[in-house]
Amino acid sequence: MQNGDTKHIWKLLDLVPDPEIPVISVVELGVIRDITFADRFFTILITPTYSGCPAVKTFTDDIKKCLKENGIRNFKIKLIYSPAWTTEWMTEKTKKKLKKYGIAPPGETVVCPQCNSKKTQLISQFGATACKAMYKCSDCLEPFEFFKCI
């Protein structure tokens, strides 16, 4: 890719799934902050969700693999910390995908992804991955994960 079509790169990266929540892409997760083209090189700026998120290494490798498979070799990936990642970057469409997958999306009220009840209770502030907390529905009694707001 010599013409520097960054839109094309965005499209490709939108095909790379989040390693921990495969129904959303790394673009939808908001970890791709910018893609620029200069001196024949694409620079992809990425930011971690949480400082210690082990998925960063995995999705960095996945991004490299995806681009190489599509014949793109003239790129560098740069990790940045500012602005710090926030769930506010997540679109409504992405939130719907999370809900369908069984994860309550970030928001002020924690709504049960199974029965839509707002009567839910916190089981633990932490979950199986850094970005989630554990809740239980008081109506349908199903336990579920909530994508923490940060």
Binding site: P48, Y50, S51, G52, C53, P54, I80, Y81, S82, P83, A84, W85, I123, S124, Q125, F126, G127, A128, A130, M134, K148, I150
Partner: protein
């Protein structure tokens, strides 16, 4: 070595050492949920340490971030002595972390407006996570302090013991002063006022008595530590020292 390097390294060391302590809880938590919580906190702290070490290595120019974490001896570590204290029972860990989280929360809040862009960015990122840690440790402190006689006794004992390690959090040496004068670092004296308020409020809710300031341990800014750090480092550094070319 520049003061900026030393300052960054101190922050990294405290995060790494406390992270290592928290990782010791992995598979030993009182409940499954708590086990996951404690391990998650460890992971956040390692992540924060990673960022600060990366920056410190860049400032240093000759050592890598792994060199800094794994190839320095006890006397070359500058973490707060509070962070190296043993986990003890769950109450001890709760108290240690609460005291440290409260400090970290206020410290990163201030550091986020440092004139050094990288320190500010790392602080802003860490702050989001530390807020969450503080909520976790405060909730447990209140639950245990305002729980049974037994749980109250255990956290009060831990608080009385660990109090001596809170003094040095707020010391200012030539590095701190230089960083502050240049708009890069934090005024720990001012921080103490806010910390006292935060601590007092939570201790009141937890029905715990604030210990009277007595002997205060000091020395971590010069690499002086309690006996526990050496053992912690021996375990943490064993693999990269025994197999220097190991990759993971």
């Amino acid at each position: 070595m520049s003061n900026l390097f030393k300052y960054t390294l101190r922050i990294a060391d405290s995060s790494l050492v406390l992270g290592q302590r928290m990782s010791e809880w992995c598979s030993k938590g009182p409940t499954l949920e708590e086990d996951i919580a404690l391990s998650n906190i460890a992971l956040d702290l390692f992540g924060q340490a990673n960022g600060f070490y990366e920056y410190a290595a860049e400032l240093d120019g000759s050592r890598s971030k792994d060199d800094l974490a794994f190839k320095r001896n006890e006397r070359e570590f500058f973490n707060h002595q509070l962070s190296e204290q043993e986990n003890g029972n769950f109450g001890t860990t709760t108290v240690r972390n609460f005291l440290h989280d409260a400090f970290n929360f206020l410290f990163y809040t201030e550091l986020a407006s440092s004139k050094d862009e990288i320190l500010a960015a790392l602080a802003a990122k860490s702050l989001k996570e530390v807020k969450y840690h503080l909520r976790h440790s405060s909730n447990w402190l209140i639950r245990l302090g305002d729980g049974t006689n037994e749980s109250n006794l255990k956290v009060q004992e831990a608080l009385d013991f660990l109090w001596q390690y809170t003094g040095e959090l707020f010391e200012m040496d030539e590095v701190d002063n230089d960083m502050l004068d240049n708009g890069l670092g934090v005024d720990n004296i001012q921080l103490k006022i806010k910390w006292d308020e935060l601590i007092n409020n939570t201790l009141k809710k937890a029905k715990l008595k604030r210990p009277i300031d007595g002997y205060m341990a000091t020395g971590s800014r010069k690499g002086i530590h309690t006996e526990y750090l050496g053992f912690l480092l021996a375990e943490m550094q064993f693999l990269p020292r025994a197999y220097p070319d190991a990759k993971w």
